[in-house]
Symmetry: C2
Subunit: 142 residues, 2 copies
């Protein structure tokens, strides 16, 4: 059973949650900049379906934590650290997404679930998923 030593597991889930929003935001910021040159608060508000006020304060936390830089009424820029986080986060997201597809999850569901799952996947599990996708796409689907 998976029921022993529950102690540290929940602590890790809690700490995961603290970085989740940061990861989602830098990912979205990087995507938006790639897609349209700049990223504004209003773009994020649309993507996350929250008010611009919420975006504003989240961006404030990201700036405090060193992931983005902003100036009043100016678009949002990623710092070096922000770019790094966006890249690893995006890579992990993609692996989880491809993995779900590989085990037979429909595309739309895989897109949704990977969004929630990615933040809780340890490097070991990610490697297992990556390896699985690799062998599956080589041998599998003829």
């Amino acid at each position: 059973m998976a029921r022993k030593q529950k102690v540290n597991r929940h602590s890790r889930v809690r700490s995961d949650h603290r970085t989740e929003l940061a990861e989602d935001y830098v990912e979205a910021i990087a995507d938006t900049i790639e897609a349209q040159g700049t990223c504004r608060a209003v773009d994020l508000a649309h993507q996350f379906q929250v008010s611009h006020v919420t975006v504003n304060r989240t961006i404030g936390r990201l700036e405090r934590d060193g992931y983005v830089t902003t100036a009043p009424y100016a678009p949002i820029e990623l710092t070096k650290e922000g770019h790094r986080l966006a890249a690893t986060s995006r890579r992990r997201h993609e692996v989880v997404y491809q993995f779900l597809l590989a085990i037979g999850v429909p595309e739309a569901t895989a897109a949704t679930d990977s969004e929630g799952i990615e933040h809780h996947v340890s490097p070991e599990s990610l490697e297992a998923m990556r390896a699985f996708v690799e062998t599956a796409t080589v041998s599998g689907k003829p």
Copy 2:
């Protein structure tokens, strides 16, 4: 790419988070009652590594939401709805855990990761995992 129609995905992740703690708590309460007959706030505080005050208030929310019943200085009881949630949550947790093992994730990591992942697994993905575990344990490990 997994980058289109991001809109509703984040909304679902947020709503998942709202039920996460409830699921973890009823699961832990059910486990504890099975293991030692009753479940007290202090047991949960130990398991989740939080203060008893935090447990107290979380239990208050669970009671408000109809998952548990409590009386001052008395142990915690699950309602019918609480039992139902605990059962489905536990089943889902177990499937995710076995699934991670099946793709080669080490036991300890699988235990930790499944704790975070389980709350974001849709019925479709869960079914895909369950099916995978089934075929893997039939054909696989000799």
